[in-house]
């Protein structure tokens, strides 16, 4: 009796095995298959039975709101997180359970993470071969590594000298290098997690070119992005996750933007932000002849109450440096700042805070987050006084305020006591914005405020900015997203190579005008020009 049941079970399990094999064979055009993959963190079900199939050699976009679980899914594939029991992953038809990134890389899966951190003190080639140095006997073969790196960079059309130290390489180039590194691992699938958040428009186009080149080599790509434009330009298929659940996969050509947005947020929404006008008052802030040698020179502008003032330019144009000086983080050497018509001195951030200037910085990791502290602690930092009772900080008061901010900005976190490092990138950004809203600033400086923020939340933040303007605050916004600047700003100052090229009104501002102005000072360095022409003559680029 017993043995009979046993053999039946055996037969049955063999049968399921068979079915599975058959299904797999029919899906053999897939490089990756994830079936019922879940992941639970303390207090959060980040992924709930997600299914995802990636076709060989295709560019597959992955979309979803902040905290939907995209990065978590990718980290599982890359061996950084272990999924909950019960799910299955197949890579190239074989079961795939990476324990560490090295397993993933050896199987043929590489990742360009959301935030890349190369070793700044090593050369481009050294970074390229980090951990797998080419050796001659017991010594490293530097020239071989240089040569091979150079070959791959040439093939992909990334002009640069391989002996440059990484610290002298721009963020955009570093991003491209990370992709090239992934290619050189002989990867069959490369994951790119929001690769364009730190790039300007022209750099984004270079990235597209490289991504297409990578695809031509038969490599599949999972491309995570919040930008619809990118997804429609690049991808063959797009999948959506919402609140940790798999919603569906569509051919990009079969779906409209509206449908895609609906899949993501579960309701209809306008992609373009239409701002309403706000009454603009008297001049609040005036900047005269602000200079910091080597960074920016002779900057003049003024911002009025209720005005949203944009600053445009390419990366390296000195936009962030100007606002950092304005806030006293890296003060200018000469020039004057006037507030309410009176000259004020700002030598340190606390001076700026005293004058109720707020500053959402550009680099979340470097100057924004206190990673191992709670959401509340991160929010209340600039001004503790309002939370004090008899000189003691009231945890309760702080928590209440943090909770109200959490609701207002729809920050996705189990509690406000959660360590901020455990939030998704977009939700971390929201906390940082909340931090400065709590200061109730007269002037709010925002440097790339919607970096990594999803479409729905973006619209919310835009609304918030306009609302602040309506309340008579002055807003200064630095952004590499042209549409963001154009749809928000009353006036836009364009910078190039540390100089102020000019200020355009809302009515005269178009993408072309601004790009032309921003390119005004943009001359590629000597070395790059030479390399580029060298490629052209060789017919590689």
């Amino acid at each position: 009796m017993k043995s009979k049941t046993n053999s039946i079970t055996l037969l049955f399990s063999n049968f399921t095995q068979l079915i599975k094999t058959i299904t797999l064979m029919t899906n053999s055009d897939c490089i990756l298959e994830m079936i019922n993959v879940s992941k639970t963190f303390p207090g959060v079900k980040a992924l709930d039975k997600v299914n995802l199939s990636i076709r060989k050699g295709s560019i597959h976009a992955l979309m979803g709101e902040n905290g939907a679980g995209k990065s978590t899914l990718m980290k599982i594939l890359y061996g950084l997180y272990t999924p909950d029991a019960g799910g299955e992953i197949f890579f190239d038809g074989k079961p795939f359970n990476p324990k560490a990134p090295i397993d993933a890389i050896h199987t043929g899966l590489a990742m360009v993470p959301q935030e890349i951190s190369p070793s700044a003190n090593l050369s481009v080639a050294a970074n390229f071969y980090l951990g797998r140095e080419i050796k001659k006997g017991i010594l490293m073969d530097q020239s071989a590594m240089n040569e091979k790196t150079n070959d791959i960079l040439k093939e992909l059309g990334i002009p640069m000298s391989v002996e440059t130290l990484m610290q002298n390489v721009s963020v955009a180039k570093a991003q491209l290098l990370a992709i090239a590194t992934a290619v050189s691992y002989d990867a069959k699938l490369i994951i790119m997690d929001e690769p364009t958040t730190a790039l300007t428009e022209s750099e984004v186009h270079q990235l597209y070119r490289i991504v297409k080149k990578v695809q031509e080599r038969g490599i599949a790509i999972i491309y995570i992005s919040h930008k619809l434009g990118e997804v429609f330009e690049l991808s063959d298929e797009v999948s959506v996750i919402r609140d940790g659940e798999y919603i569906g996969t569509k051919k990009t050509t079969d779906i409209t933007k509206e449908e895609l947005i609906n899949m993501m947020v579960g309701r209809d929404m306008d992609e373009m932000f239409q701002r309403e006008d706000v009454i603009i008052g008297e001049t609040l802030l005036e900047v005269r002849n602000l200079s910091l040698p080597g960074k920016f020179h002779d900057i003049n502008f003024s911002v009025r109450k209720g005005e949203i003032f944009g600053i445009a330019g390419l990366v390296g144009a000195g936009r962030s440096e100007v606002v950092e000086a304005l806030f006293g983080y890296k003060p200018a050497e000469s020039g004057e700042i006037h507030l309410h018509g009176k000259k004020i001195e700002i030598h340190k951030p606390c001076d700026a805070i005293k004058h109720r200037i707020g500053f959402v910085t550009e680099d979340r990791k470097l100057t924004g987050l206190m990673l191992n502290m709670s959401v509340t602690d991160n929010m209340i930092m600039p001004e503790l006084l309002p939370y004090e009772k008899h000189h003691l900080i009231s945890e309760e008061l702080a928590r209440d305020v943090a909770n109200s901010m959490k609701d207002q900005l729809r920050i996705k976190t189990p509690t406000v006591e959660t360590i901020i490092g455990n939030l998704s990138g977009g939700n971390q950004q929201k906390v940082l914005i909340a931090r400065w809203l709590l200061l109730e600033p007269e002037i709010l400086i925002l440097d790339e405020p919607t970096k990594g923020i999803d479409i729905g939340a973006k619209a919310e933040i835009y609304k918030l900015i306009v609302e602040l303007a309506r309340l008579g605050k002055a807003i200064i916004i630095v952004s590499s997203e042209m549409l963001e600047l154009l749809s928000l700003s009353d006036r836009i100052m364009v910078m190039a190579e540390g100089r102020e090229v000019g200020i355009v009104d809302r009515d005269n501002a178009t993408q072309e005008v601004i790009l032309e102005m921003a390119a005004g000072g943009d001359v590629p360095s000597q070395e790059e020009q030479e390399l580029e022409s060298e490629y052209q003559t060789q017919g590689v680029a």
Binding site: P42, G43, F327, M370, L371, N372, M373, M381
Partner: protein, 324 residues
């Protein structure tokens, strides 16, 4: 399905509690085990004797915790104990009355603060890593202590002064009372006052702290002055208990203090730590010292065991942070 989810939630709840109070649990287990093994280990007399021992390096550990939370360190505290002890002893020797006693305690703390001020200035304004700055101070303070005392112990017999180390209030030894008062004050400073919040912010991300308007230099200065003053206080306490000041006092105490902080979960990376947990760490070291002594364990082995426990605690901390 729902059952599974709630079981999951309960499991994560347990691990959270274990993470938070794990060291307290270890302390209780350690104490219970030793009490079973050794007669009289759990007696009041023995407990107070442990607490007295702990109170001195425990106070130093609190100051060191502040420094570590900013992402720094203070290696000079043992040497400052020695310096404060010879200064305190030379003031109090042959005098009568509580006036001189208070003066001697004050002077010891003042000398400690000066050392801290120097540590802090070099760190905050000279931008020298605190490891180096306080390493220098460690050698210097010990040198000055030798110089002041001519390398010999200084008699500190003054009835009023020694009564602090000998006496008790309602049966609780004077040194323990001081420890408790210091701990409460520092706990409030660290967890409830903006100064403490700034200390965490600096350890969490120095750039962010700056952007948020924290005066990083002044805060660091205060932290090292506090650490120095507490080391000075510990020096005075030790002097009053030993009836003498001695330039060799406090040898390696800085390491016990750092160990207490780290065992208590203070992260050497900065931004994490608390006074109560630092006390737990100090108690673990104290209980272990006493227990190993009473068991008659070879002192060399004692060192080895202590070292292993410190490394174990740091490993645990790293594990906690790595685990996803």
């Amino acid at each position: 399905m729902i059952k599974e989810a709630s079981a999951n939630a309960r499991k994560t709840h347990y691990t959270e509690i274990l993470n938070k109070y794990g060291m307290l649990l270890i302390l209780i287990l350690l104490f219970s085990a030793l009490s079973l093994k050794i007669d009289g280990f759990a007696s009041f007399r023995n407990i107070f004797s442990i607490l007295e021992q702990v109170s001195m390096f425990g106070i130093i550990a609190i100051g060191v915790t502040f420094a570590i939370v900013t992402g720094g360190i203070d290696l000079s505290s043992g040497a400052v104990v020695a310096l404060a002890s010879v200064v305190g002893a030379s003031i109090v020797t042959g005098t009568e009355g509580y006036g001189m006693t208070i003066f001697a305690f004050g002077a010891a703390m003042f000398v400690g603060s000066i050392c801290g001020l120097i540590n802090g200035s070099i760190t905050a304004y000279g931008r020298i890593p605190p490891f180096i700055a306080t390493l220098g101070m460690m050698t210097m303070a010990r040198g000055v202590a030798q110089l002041v005392s001519n390398g010999r112990p200084i008699d500190a017999s003054s009835d009023a002064f020694t009564s602090i180390g000998d006496g008790s209030i309602f049966g609780v030894p004077g040194l323990v009372v001081i420890y408790v008062l210091v701990a409460i004050t520092c706990h409030i400073m660290m967890s409830r006052m903006s100064f403490g919040r700034h200390v965490f912010a600096i350890g969490g991300n120095v750039n962010t702290a700056k952007i948020c308007g924290v005066n990083v230099e002044i805060t660091l200065l205060k932290v090292y002055i506090l650490a120095g003053a507490l080391a000075g206080l510990a020096g005075a306490m030790l002097t009053s208990r030993a009836y003498a000041g001695n330039p060799t006092f406090g040898n390696m105490w800085e390491l016990d203090a750092i160990a207490a902080a780290v065992i208590g979960g203070t992260s050497l990376a900065g931004g994490v730590g608390s006074v109560p947990m630092c006390i737990v760490g100090a108690l673990i070291i104290g209980v272990m010292n006493k227990g190993l002594n009473m068991l008659g364990v070879d002192p060399y082995w004692q060192q080895i065991i202590k070292g292993m426990i410190i490394i174990g605690a740091v490993l645990l901390d790293a594990q906690k942070r790595k685990k996803a």
